[in-house]
Each structure stands twice: as structure tokens, then as C-alpha cells.
């Protein structure tokens, strides 16, 4: 019963994380497409910049690049989540490989919390570095999603370590008939 529900749920979660893994880049490209034709569109979305801040092709590419780099940990986490759900779907639940995937997912989520924190400061510095003195900005923002990623990531790291121990116990138990 337990194995069946784990396999069933993991099948759905594998499909979901796979859709997100491939859909997220496409969604991001679609969201940023208006800016390709009109770089000032991106400038209009960054409301905490001083008046008169100019957009240049270099700034545009760099701001978009920062977003992609900051989201890389998300792909790392999704990759390991897919790996974990693939194993759970076929019934491998208490193995060292599963523990490894849980641990790495947690580490990537903690990293994502860190990179998310860096997006706004980096973007505002990049956008205003060539402004006159007194009109340069450095913005820092912390929101609940960052804290959520940090806590969830930390939880998964701890669970990953515990699952490593559990996998050893399961391996030991498998030697008994």
C-alpha cells in the first residue's frame, strides 16, 4: 500500500518537475520577449531606479544574464528532484542515491535563496553605475520566497543526511532473512 502510493505520487511529481524543468526557460523567454524589440520596456519594469537612468544594449544583456544566472540553482534543484522521483516511481526508496538527490536538492535551494538575494543589488548597481554621482543606486530586497527557499533547503539538507543513515540501516536490514 505504502509503496503503491509512493510510486503513484512520484509519477505525478516526476511529470510536474519535468514540465517545470523544460517549461521554465520557455516561460522566461516568453516573459522577456517584449524587451527584445524595445529595451526600454525592461527599464519601465524596474521602478526603483533614479530618474534619467538610461538603458543600453550592454545593460540590457547583463540584467537578463543576471536573472538567468540567479535561476540556475533552480534547474539544479529540479534536476535532482526529477532524479529522486524517478527512483521513487520504480520503488527504490531507501537507498544512498535517493539520499544524495534529497541532499543536493536542499543545497541547490539554499543556493537559490542566496542568488535571489543578489539579483536586485546587482541589477540596480549595473543600471546606475554610469549615472552622475548622487544618482547611483544599490537596492536590497528580502522577500518571503527567499526565506522559504532557505528554510526548505535547510530542511532537505538535514533530511538528506538523515536519509543517508536510513539507507545504511536499510542495507544492513536487507542482509537479514
Amino acid at each position: 500500500m505504502t509503496s503503491t502510493r509512493i510510486a503513484t505520487l512520484s509519477g505525478w511529481l516526476y511529470s510536474g518537475t519535468t514540465a517545470l524543468y523544460y517549461g521554465l526557460p520557455l516561460g522566461l523567454i516568453a516573459a522577456l520577449t517584449p524587451g527584445i524589440a524595445s529595451p526600454d520596456w525592461l527599464l519601465s519594469r524596474m521602478t526603483d531606479l533614479p530618474q534619467g537612468t538610461a538603458m543600453t544594449p550592454f545593460k540590457y544583456a547583463a540584467v537578463i544574464g543576471i536573472v538567468w544566472l540567479a535561476l540556475l540553482p533552480m534547474f539544479g534543484a529540479l534536476s535532482h528532484m526529477r532524479g529522486l522521483f524517478r527512483l521513487y516511481r520504480r520503488g527504490d526508496i531507501l537507498t544512498d542515491t535517493c539520499a544524495h538527490h534529497i541532499l543536493r536538492t536542499g543545497q541547490w535551494l539554499v543556493t537559490l535563496a542566496g542568488t535571489s538575494l543578489l539579483i536586485k543589488p546587482l541589477q540596480t548597481v549595473l543600471m546606475t553605475y554610469d549615472n552622475p554621482p548622487g544618482q547611483r543606486a544599490l537596492a536590497i530586497g528580502i522577500d518571503s520566497s527567499m526565506l522559504g527557499f532557505l528554510l526548505a533547503g535547510g530542511l532537505l539538507v538535514a533530511i538528506g543526511w538523515v536519509m543517508r543513515e536510513a539507507a545504511l540501516v536499510a542495507q544492513e536490514n536487507a542482509g537479514f532473512v
Binding site: E172, G175, F176
Partner: protein, 70 residues
């Protein structure tokens, strides 16, 4: 140093029972029973041992032997 030898083959022969039938009777796979017979397991649960003794009508000492090795 002492090791435990499993004499299950001997008891199966005495009772004229096949491994497959014993495995089915005690509720373990034939593969696990084969590992047990060859001594390639880390241990045996009391529950499994009790079922083996019940099916083969024997004592644990009839199927397990301690052998001193150099």
C-alpha cells in the same frame, strides 16, 4: 574465531522437502532461502527461524551449528 554454519540442506533432505516449498511455507523468496542455505546472509530473524522450525519440525540447533575456525 567461530562461524555459524547453516545445515538447512540436511534438514530439507531429511524431511524430503524442496526449497521452493519451504520458502513458500515460511513466506520468504526462494532467492533469500538460497542465500540462507549458503550462509551468505548477515543474520536470520527469530520470526523466520521459528517458522522454519515449525515447518520442518526441528530445533534451531538442528539447522544452525557453531564451528570454530583457526
Amino acid at each position: 574465531m567461530t562461524r555459524i554454519i547453516v545445515r538447512l540442506d540436511v534438514m530439507l533432505a531429511r524431511r524430503k522437502m524442496r526449497s521452493r516449498d519451504l520458502a513458500e511455507a515460511i513466506g520468504i523468496t526462494e532467492a533469500n532461502l538460497s542465500l540462507l542455505k549458503s550462509g551468505k546472509v548477515k543474520g536470520i530473524r527469530f520470526d523466520t527461524l521459528a517458522r522454519i522450525c515449525a515447518v520442518l519440525d526441528c530445533q534451531p540447533g538442528d539447522i544452525l551449528e557453531a564451528e570454530r575456525i583457526a
